[in-house]
Amino acid sequence: MDAVSWNRFQFGFLVTYHYLFPTLTMGLALLIFFMKLVAYKSGDERYDHAATFWAKIFGINFAVGVVTGIPLEFQFGTNWARFSNYAGGVIGLTLALEGLFAFFAESAFLGLFLYGKQKLSAKMHLFASFMVFLGSWLSGYFIIATNAFMQHPVGYRVGPRGLLLSDMWAYLLNPWAFWQYLHNMTSAVVAASFVVAAVGALYTLSDRHKEQARVFLKVGVVAGLISCILILFPTGDQNGKMVAEYQPAALAAMEGKYETSDKAELAIIGQPDSVNKRLDNPIIVPYVLSYLAYGSFGAKVKGMNDFPKDELPDNTELLYYGYHIMAGLGTIFIALMLTSATKLWRGTLETSRAWLWMLMLAFPFPFIAVTMGWMTVELGRQPWLVYGLLRTIHGTSPKVAGGSVAFTTLGFMGLYFVVGVLYLYLIHRQIAKGPIDFAQAHTIDEAGA
């Protein structure tokens, strides 16, 4: 592998791994705040216990999110020095604002939220949970705005030494960032709802913590249904339209479309064959792609064959599957949550064991969908690092050898493997302990047991 490939692989690995944790952090932050709010307004103790239980899981998850996030902030300088040099004057703004506005709030209030239940009034504790939510959602915005600039640069001017900011608000309010943010944050809520519902299903199935399980199922399924619908429409739909407008080459590859045509068909299933330039074993729906991409059934969609090779993403297969797996899972999620919500409303959810099994086992899939979605975004951006301005091959650090990057990649993989195993073990333990015992957990801890 050459140095560029090692760098790409390293960044892809680090950010994919990191992002598994913030997904849950941001989703849970909203749900926890919601539970605290219900508890505060109604005085319903169960919701307060539920929030306390999830806060414990949130704490472990956050810690891993933080330690895996720090390397990313450094990556831009260590591995992508020419990119930082070229674009730093613009993207540095959001990176700095993220640290200043979001991470400070998040970390300071998380300390208060996790350690301060006894020290703060109920109202201040609720406020701390709100600030944790706000901080994590703000941090999401700044990082998405950074990425959106790489997808669709706006508000800049080309200067002698690189890009310069020319219009701050245009940069901060990039239209690409708007839909990407909403879609992405919704996906975090999907993931957290699935996790909360899965734990509810687990407790119900194993006949433990029945009261809490009921709260979890209710919160998980209701939030899950709302977010699963929002993720398809309008947010997913709008994201697709932006790709069609600004990154037509990426759209062709995402859809596995080789030939240019009007009244373009949408491929539901099929395997792209990039040697013979066709989609094998396709199942298609005529006209739909033209409509989804450009809002009219007759619109022309340009196929991969009509793009010069140096404007096409270099891994069109993975791009195609990334997109199809995300969208396919999204469709299944809607069906799953619609049925669960109907059962919840009728009061039969707790007794449909088969359905509870499904809910319990479904929780990993939103994380897969999120990862696949990001694969789509980042592979679709290739061969550009900053779309239309800087190519990925021109972004690396000039004096860092591929071998050094290989070494650190292997080191990170080893370290992250260990961290991942510990994480799963600790989360498992927390779930096994359960929410009710949590109140007594302090006493056990204090006894040094």
């Binding site: 472990i60 450094f74 604002l97 970390s107 050094s404 333990r429």
Partner: protein, 347 residues
Amino acid sequence: METVWFMIIALMMAAYVVLDGFDFGAGILHLLVAKTDEERRTVLAAIGPFWDGNEVWLLAGGGILVFAFPRAYAAGFSGFYLPLTIVLWLLILRGVSIEFRSLEASTLWRSFWDGVFFLASSLMAIVLGAALGNVIRGVPLESDGYFSGPLFTNFGLSSHPGVLDWYTVLIGLLAFAMLAMHGALFLRLKTEGEVHRRATGLAGRLYVAVLALLVLATYASAMVQPKLLSGIGARPLAWVLALGVLASLIAIPTSLKRTNEAAPFFASCGLIVSLLAATATALFPTILSSTIDPAFDLNTGNAAAGALSLQVGVYWWIVAIALAIGYFVFLFRSFRGKVDIHHDYGH
């Protein structure tokens, strides 16, 4: 504007060292000052609510560096590729050890993480010091604005020095002693009983080590980087800061004898801030000196981002830092006083 951003970055870095410094120090010392499990948990509870927030100063400082001086960020971070990666691994291990240690009751589990916490904290303190040493000494920056520093050569100084040579190691040791002392003073402030007693004893002894190393390091720095002396000589601000260093050095041992526990800790904060600020003032406007040719130096003039960025950035920064200071004051006030793991160890 560039000057303002140079000062902002120096300030953020000094705030980072003061804040994360006390939890590094706690990590360096906890095996010595805390013997039983209960004492160890007291140490962790003392830093528990703060360490993550403290680390954010590093991230925010890094973010500001990309933003204000992208060339210096690109050159520095890619040049120190391997050492920085090692820093990252240490930070990961440290964060994990603080958060995971008390989640499991087994003594083996806890001893393991105590060891990791100690090692990662100690190495971090040394590496931070060595990094500062590199910035003072200069690095082999070439005409394209990049450099690549080998981890070590023969530990001697030359135009192509390693990241570790006798000088940077010396600064690393100074940082180790200084942060250990800083941590001891923090623990003295936050704890009672045995931990308090041991921390007080250690602080006194570490002070002597700091004083000796500081004299040595000052002499060495003046030799290694002539700009330092001439910079201090030419800038009255640097004289004031140097007086601040002296005053803090006197205040630490005298206030240690009295019962006021906050004073020595704040004196130690003052020592760190005035020392770093004096160094930055003396080196200004250079951000990173080249050991090959002074013409390749990166300074506030040739490394800065565009004028508009720097302009709007200042407004954002003022608002953000006012908020951040607000949060931190609130956080530290909420957890003021001695830690008591029986009542507020909500973790």
